[in-house]
């Protein structure tokens, strides 16, 4: 092999075939391979944490304790949250970034290919640490994904493993972000100015900055938990002069920007999909960029709206209420722009478009419940109830997850070279959208009526809506098997995809053949 490589000389270095089998995936520095790895990891984790959600919903089908005990129930809700956030949505978006950012910019690969490999491969380690804690004495972490002390200080060994896993996942995100920022700022094709690049790249650029700014804050918070737990410090222990509420301030200073980390790339995907199927350019491109940036900047000054019930002075409550309400303005601008993009277009409704339309509509419902929760006095009534559960599942399931589905259907022909099964795709869409609303819409009523979140058993007046939600959860959960079938089918074969794939598609990724060759844009295209 070395002889052959030498014979071909330096220029051909990039062209020799990758190692086969597992070593290909372990050692790969190719952005497309790493993109696929992220996406498969997210898929496996989606089913893992989804199974936990179904167990939670099954327990809540009727009052009383049937399937779980309260401690195991808390483990399920905690792990479901941690895995869905850090193991599904974030890696899936990283997968999209790896596949699409170089293709959209006309770059041959990411800026730091070896770091890219490392950023992915530490993720499964973190996942394994988290999952294995189910087998340890005392079971998995049960203190809520928000990890609030002092409860988090009480737990056993799995709490330390969780802290370690969070550190590793944060490290992975930071490395991924450095890569994305460097790629976008330095590796755009000649002529592709920042204000010409696809909106998906813009949203990821801003997301990457959010990650770099906030992940170290989370790392600091969990490190303080670790030393409080193991080394006798008292950061969060009032008896030692600490303050449990300080953790919440630090945590939400990370976790509110995190909310936008989980939704800005979704905005980007949807902003690619809608113009394609409306056959009309994105309306208000510049205002979309400014709105995304405004949301990101505002996200740093709203964190304490997660803490209206800790007992802040009125002035602080008012400040965080007003700043939170302000976020509705740029978010509204985005929704108006999407609708204006559809307006007077020539629309067709393939599966990606269906998911994108559902995203715009249902994400807005999540946005409205967010506005309700921004109003401090109303939030104080609804804080830590099922209303909040309904709110964040509308933005994370019908928001982030639906945008991921839209993106997968949209780009899968480019990735695999095969068209997916449109009929199955539509089945997946309709089952998901109906199931999702049956699960989460009744939760608004449960929260308003006073059902707290994170409880394994409930009072009798909450029974009907819980039963409806559980039925919806099983419809939604099992309809994801249709998604699995569509993906597997498209990987194995199917109708050959054309280079452009979609009639209305615009952008550099639609100029390379389908499937995209292992190496693309070795010579940069020129954008006029």
């Amino acid at each position: 092999m070395s002889d052959a490589a030498h014979a071909h000389g330096h220029d051909d270095h990039g062209h020799h075939a990758p190692p086969s089998g597992i070593m290909r995936w372990l050692t790969t520095t190719n952005h497309k391979d790493i993109g696929s790895l992220y996406l498969f990891f997210a898929l496996i984790m989606l089913f893992t944490a989804g199974a936990m959600a179904l167990l939670i919903r099954a327990e809540l089908f009727q009052p009383g304790l049937q399937l779980t005990n309260p401690d195991f129930f808390n483990q399920l809700t905690t792990m479901h949250g941690l895995i869905m956030i850090f193991g599904v949505i974030m890696p899936a978006f990283s997968g999209f970034a790896n596949w699409q950012v170089p293709l959209m910019l006309g770059a041959p690969d990411m800026a730091f290919p070896r770091m890219n490999n490392w950023a992915f491969w530490i993720l499964p380690v973190a996942g394994l640490l988290l999952m294995s804690s189910f087998l340890l004495p005392g079971g998995a972490v049960a203190g809520g994904w928000t990890m609030y002390p002092p409860l988090f200080i009480q737990g056993g060994i799995s709490y330390d493993l969780t802290i370690l896993a969070v550190h590793i996942m944060g490290l992975s995100s930071i490395m991924g972000s450095i890569n994305i920022i460097t790629t976008i700022l330095n590796m755009r094709a000649p002529g592709l100015t920042l204000m010409k690049m696809p909106l998906f790249c813009w949203t990821w650029l801003i997301t990457a900055y959010l990650l770099i700014a906030t992940m170290p804050v989370l790392a600091g918070a969990v490190t303080m938990l670790l030393t409080d737990r193991n080394f006798g410090t008292h950061f969060f222990n009032a008896a030692g002069g600490g303050d449990p509420v300080m953790f919440q301030h630090i945590f939400w200073f990370f976790a509110h920007p995190e909310v936008y980390i989980l939704i800005l790339p979704a905005f980007g995907i949807v902003s690619q999909v809608i113009p394609t199927f409306a056959r009309k350019p994105l309306f208000g491109y510049a205002s979309m960029v400014y709105a995304t940036a405004s949301i990101a900047i505002l996200s740093f000054i709203v964190w304490a709206h997660h803490m209206f019930t800790v007992g802040m002075p009125a002035a602080a409550q008012l400040f965080f209420m007003f700043s939170t309400m302000l976020i509705a303005v740029p978010t509204g601008v985005k929704v108006f722009n999407w609708v204006a993009t559809m307006w007077k277009g020539s629309m067709t409704f393939e599966t990606p478009m269906l998911f994108a339309i559902a995203f715009v509509c249902l994400f807005t419902i999540g946005g409205f419940s967010g506005l309700v929760l921004a109003i401090a006095p109303v939030d104080i009534q609804l804080h830590d109830t099922y209303y909040v559960v309904a709110h964040f599942h509308y933005v994370l399931v019908s928001g982030a997850l639906f945008s991921i589905f839209a993106g997968i259907y949209y780009w899968m022909p480019k990735w695999t070279g095969h068209m997916y099964d449109e009929t199955l795709g539509k089945w997946h869409f309709w089952l998901s959208v109906i199931g999702m609303n049956i699960v989460f819409f009744p939760m608004h009523f449960l929260g308003l009526a006073g059902m707290p979140r994170r409880i394994p058993d409930y009072a009798l007046q909450f029974t009907e809506f819980n039963q409806i939600a559980t039925v919806g959860a099983f419809i939604f959960g099992f309809s994801q098997l249709v998604f699995l079938a569509v993906v597997m089918k498209a990987i194995k074969g199917g109708e050959k995809a054309t280079t452009k794939v979609w009639e209305g598609a615009e952008g550099l990724e639609w100029t390379v053949p389908s499937p995209a060759p292992y190496h693309t844009f070795e010579t940069a295209p020129v954008i006029k």
């Binding site: 409860l151 009032a238 303005v329 104080i380």
Partner: protein, 382 residues
């Protein structure tokens, strides 16, 4: 501004009225029983109406477009993609609408945070997993535990009307009085919430936060802990009984009588059978949540008492564990919560229940002595 607010207010009221008809189905916030809860109720209705209006306009446009501007109907795509005037309009209009919401909301915030001039003050302490109430003006103190029987939770008995929302000792307050709440916690975070009274405040160990309510109507109002506090977070409800001034006075007198009877128990000597019978009740209310009714605990989380070295070893060490807890674990110091007689009873019960057959008994006097020596030893331990 004023007339717009009034109009929205009227619309909100009309909607609220139609909502009360639906109240039994639980589509909206609970029927308010205080002015603050009423204000929040109306604020929520107002915002929902505004959101609904915006939703209909925006998605009316979108769904019209989905219907009219489709390729299958032969619609040709237009090419416009920018309009600064439109962008400015749909930035400014939402901003103005938000200001219209912010003003009434701010008034409610300021009213909610004003805890001055209370008629009475009650200190509320969250424990894993019960609430403690101290009436600072009337000198009444008690703990409030879930009173739903285990059999109902495990499904071997039919569930009662107030399943999981019933307690052994409700908080009792007089109607129409401003009650100031000083809320704190003993172990981890909890949160005290009674929806109909519009009062919710996190209970934070080591810090005291205040809140208030003034109940307008006599009645029983139920709520739950709403901050995840461990295993039995779902099993520490709150019940507030709002009664007339006269009934409240009578209740205070009754509670004081019970307290002095309990105090006199501390100077008595009991026989073992009496202690075991009393201890079983104390165990069920205070210990069984973690250590379980069968004394086996939960493997890896809570240690067993059945067959444990502490419960079958020297009685002084056993008493010491119950009195002072185990720092750094979920085992709290019950000396702060239980009377000498109760601790003597529960220790005796634990030493003679299940497979534990030690055969001895603890007396209240021993507990008092242990408390004394612990206090004497404490400065040295520091």
């Amino acid at each position: 501004m004023r007339s717009m607010r009034q109009r929205v207010g009227v619309a909100g009221m009309a909607w609220a009225a139609s909502q009360t008809a639906l109240a039994e189905y639980g589509f909206n916030l609970q029927t308010p029983a205080s002015q603050v809860a009423q204000d929040v109720f109306q604020l929520h209705n107002l915002i929902m109406l505004v959101c609904l209006g915006i939703f209909i306009v925006v998605f009316g446009a979108m769904f019209y477009s989905l219907y009219a501007h489709r390729k299958s109907k032969g619609h040709q795509a237009a090419h416009f993609h920018e309009n600064t005037t439109v962008e400015v309009i749909w930035t400014v209009i939402p901003f103005v609408i938000l200001m219209g919401m912010a003003y009434p909301a701010a008034k409610v915030v300021i009213n909610m945070k004003d805890t001055a001039n209370p008629d009475m003050t009650v200190k509320i302490t969250g424990y894993q997993w019960k609430w403690g109430y101290d009436y600072l003006n009337d000198g009444v103190s008690f703990y409030s535990n879930l009173s739903t029987p285990r059999e109902q939770i495990e499904g071997s008995a039919a569930k009662g009307e107030n399943y999981l929302l019933e307690v052994d000792e409700p908080m009792v307050v007089p109607v129409g009085k401003r009650v100031r709440l000083l809320i704190t916690a003993n172990d981890v975070l909890h949160s005290w919430w009674v929806p109909a009274l519009g009062a919710k405040q996190d209970a934070i160990p080591g810090f005291i936060r205040d809140s208030w309510f003034k109940a307008d109507k006599i009645g029983t109002y139920r709520g739950q802990c709403v901050e995840l506090c461990g295993k039995d977070h779902g099993f520490m409800p709150i019940v507030v009984e709002v009664v007339s001034e006269a009934d409240y006075k009578a209740w205070v007198e009754k509670k004081k009588g019970v307290a002095s009877a309990a105090a006199s128990d501390n100077s008595k000597t009991f026989d073992q059978a009496e202690l075991i019978a009393r201890g079983e009740k104390v165990y069920a209310a205070n210990c069984a949540a973690c250590h379980q009714a069968n004394g086996m605990g939960l493997p890896g989380v809570f240690l067993p008492i059945n067959g444990s070295k502490v419960a079958t070893g020297p009685i002084d060490a056993h008493i010491n564990t119950v009195l002072n807890g185990r720092p750094g674990t979920a085992m709290v110091a019950f000396g702060e919560q239980l009377s000498d007689a109760d601790i003597a009873a529960v220790v005796t019960y634990q030493r003679n229940a299940w497979d534990n057959k030690v055969g001895d008994a603890a007396q209240p006097a021993q507990i008092a002595a242990a408390r004394g020596s612990a206090e004497a030893a404490a400065p040295a331990a520091q």
